[in-house]
């Protein structure tokens, strides 16, 4: 017996909920061969505004969680992702036109990335922090602290899941909250990842996913006064110099575009941290 196909209409992921775009707009997601796959919400600047508000509200809780706890939550994301491996593989194969075997390899790499970054959560402070030598009876300690709200343009056009994970996971390690614009042409894995995040232990608002046009959304995020850092990883095709200039108005941290999928690296974790140095008197022991 033949079954009717169920074409899905996906929504955004803001503040732990799945709202429609405020604008009511959506766009068609098509497979590599042009076949209709699903409808996705086309986020507007007001959705971006709402996402930043949700992210800001989530920062204190996420940054205030213990490093060990953050690591566990990130590891849990990898576990849930592992459980839905086949769904991701099928979506990627259909959407990007790669073989299912290639798609599985991409999902595995994405899961490995989550695990790798989860491990850093309670270790990066030991690597990036320091007990500084000072000429006086003081402890002088430098510790990295999260920057705050990070807006991300995910890599566009290739490896939609892996590219997304390689930019989102490192920002979460230190305790930042993220507003991410995923791959415009292949948003399915981003939406499914949002479902994974919603059903793992990540607090609502820590990651917000705005499917839609990076060209439309990025300028609003770059100029938004309540965004603290801007990752332009996938903005190479945009007027990213303008974005960089606009981000400078409010002294944002900016990571400039890079071709392809960024490698997993500690540098991406430390890019979204601010160093706090404290002096404390040595008392008699």
């Amino acid at each position: 017996m033949t079954r009717l196909t169920i074409p899905k209409t996906y929504k955004l992921y803001i503040g732990g909920k799945f709202p429609r775009s405020e604008s009511g707009r959506s766009y068609e997601v098509r497979a590599a061969d042009g076949a209709f796959l699903a409808n996705a919400s086309l986020a507007s600047r007001k959705d971006a505004r709402d996402a930043v508000v949700a992210a800001r509200a989530a920062v204190s809780g996420w940054a205030g969680a213990t490093a060990y706890n953050r690591g566990q939550v990130l590891y849990r994301v990898a576990e849930v992702l592992e459980g839905r491996r086949e769904q991701f593989a099928q979506e990627i194969a259909a959407s990007e036109g790669v073989s299912v075997a290639d798609a599985r390899r991409q999902v595995d790499a994405a899961i490995d990335t989550w695990v790798w970054y989860a491990g850093w959560a309670d270790k990066f402070v030991q690597v990036a922090g320091a007990g500084n030598p000072v000429a006086g009876p003081f402890f002088n300690l430098s510790v990295p602290e999260p920057t705050g709200v990070v807006a991300v343009v995910a890599p566009q056009g290739e490896a939609s899941l892996l590219g997304l994970v390689r930019v989102v996971a490192p920002a979460l390690v230190a305790g930042n909250a993220v507003v991410v614009v995923p791959d415009e042409a292949h948003p399915l894995s981003a939406i499914s990842l949002a479902e994974v995040l919603a059903t793992s232990d990540l607090p609502g608002g820590v990651v917000n996913v705005l499917t839609g046009s990076p060209a439309e959304l990025a300028p609003w995020l770059a100029s938004h006064a309540d965004v603290n850092a801007l990752d332009l990883a996938g903005a190479g095709q945009l007027e990213w110099v303008d974005l960089d200039i606009s981000a400078a108005d409010t002294l944002k941290r900016v990571l400039r575009p890079e071709p392809g999928v960024p490698a997993a690296s500690l540098d991406r974790v430390l890019a979204y941290t601010e160093t706090k140095t404290v002096w404390h008197t040595k008392s008699l022991i």
Binding site: R49, V52, R56, W220, S223, H224, A225, D226, V227, S246, D249
Partner: protein
């Protein structure tokens, strides 16, 4: 605009409307003779008014007008003179990054904080029509109103003597719900009399109905008329201490009472929704409701106010967005 209300002696309105022998019975007959409220129609009307889209220059006008209509409020047990001073500083200069930002209409504090507010305002203390800031004080055993009349009157006189320009009183909801309208009426009349200053002028009296405790729209309508008849200069929805506080349908209903009173007598009575209005978008809906119900002439500080604390920050963020073209954040307004 001439404020005919303040010139009248208390209860004169009721005598004019109900005749010389004002009794509990005639008051009850009048209030219970008011037509019932069509709840579905009222809520639909409010919902319809809330869908208006206000953009660009109208929005800029609305935001400035909202600021001019705000009673910037702090009503906490933990209020200190220092907190009142910082509230006053914000009332005088809401946005230090933009000197064109208008001042709020008034600061609203507990009675014992009135001297602190008056002192902090200094030369900026005065009529909002002149670009100055008034001092409003809550009185009469706010927020519950559970005290003897003598205590309520002393509370009111204290605040007026300390320099309060406006008194926000609460009605005795217990008496009202028990059907004891005469008691509520007499208390409002007595408090109005206690608002009299030594020079014979009156502090403006806002009567808080606490609609969240009145249960039905019919009760809100009766309480509105009762408060107007007893001489209230303003009718105010809520204390902000009870949920639900101000809602659009309740405010619409109170505006209708004020409108009908104006048609009947030509007098102007103000309305103040208070509590729960935090977003500019909500406040704009109230402006639309006022303009559509009683007319734009009501959008001035002597006839309409917002009782709010966090609303101001949201309006300032919206103003900054309009001015700079990009979204602003809570780091760019003062925390209070």
């Amino acid at each position: 605009m001439t404020m005919q209300t303040t010139a009248l002696a208390p209860a004169e309105r009721a005598v004019r409307l109900l005749g010389g022998d004002l009794t509990e019975r005639s008051l009850r007959q009048y209030l219970e003779g008011l037509s019932g409220v069509d709840a579905v129609g009222l809520e639909q009307r409010a919902e319809g008014l809330a869908t208006r889209s206000i953009k660009t220059s109208s929005k800029a006008w609305a935001l400035d007008r909202i600021i001019e209509l705000i009673d910037l409020t702090t009503l906490e047990g933990a209020d200190t003179p220092g907190k009142v001073r910082s509230l006053v500083a914000k009332a005088i200069t809401p946005d230090a990054t933009d000197p064109s930002t208008p001042r709020v209409a008034a600061v609203c504090v507990y009675g014992d904080m009135v001297p602190a507010a008056v002192e902090a305002l200094g030369a900026a203390h005065g009529d909002p029509d002149d670009g100055l800031v008034s001092v409003a004080a809550v009185a009469t055993a706010f927020p519950s109103g559970r005290a003897s009349l003598a205590v309520k009157l002393a509370d009111t006189r204290d605040a007026v003597a300390a320099g309060a320009d406006e008194i926000d009183m609460v009605i005795d909801r217990g008496a009202f719900l028990a059907g004891n309208y005469g008691r509520v009426f007499e208390q409002i009349v007595a408090v109005k009399e206690a608002c009299r200053r030594d020079d014979g002028t009156f502090a403006s009296l806002k009567v808080i109905l606490e609609t969240g405790e009145l249960n039905t729209y019919d009760n809100v309508r009766r309480a509105s008329w009762l408060s107007i008849l007893a001489g209230g200069d303003f009718i105010k929805t809520s204390t902000g201490k009870v949920a639900p506080a101000a809602t659009l349908p309740v405010t619409l209903l109170m505006l209708e009472a004020v409108r009908d009173w104006h048609r009947l007598t030509g007098e102007y009575v103000g309305v103040k929704p208070a509590g729960g209005i935090r977003a500019s978008k909500d406040a704009v809906r109230y402006l639309v409701t006022v303009a559509e119900t009683v007319g734009e002439q009501w959008l001035q500080p002597h006839l309409f106010r917002f009782g709010a604390s966090s609303l101001l920050n949201d309006v300032l963020l919206q103003r900054q967005k309009l001015r700079t073209g990009h979204y602003s954040g809570p780091d760019y307004v003062t925390i209070d």
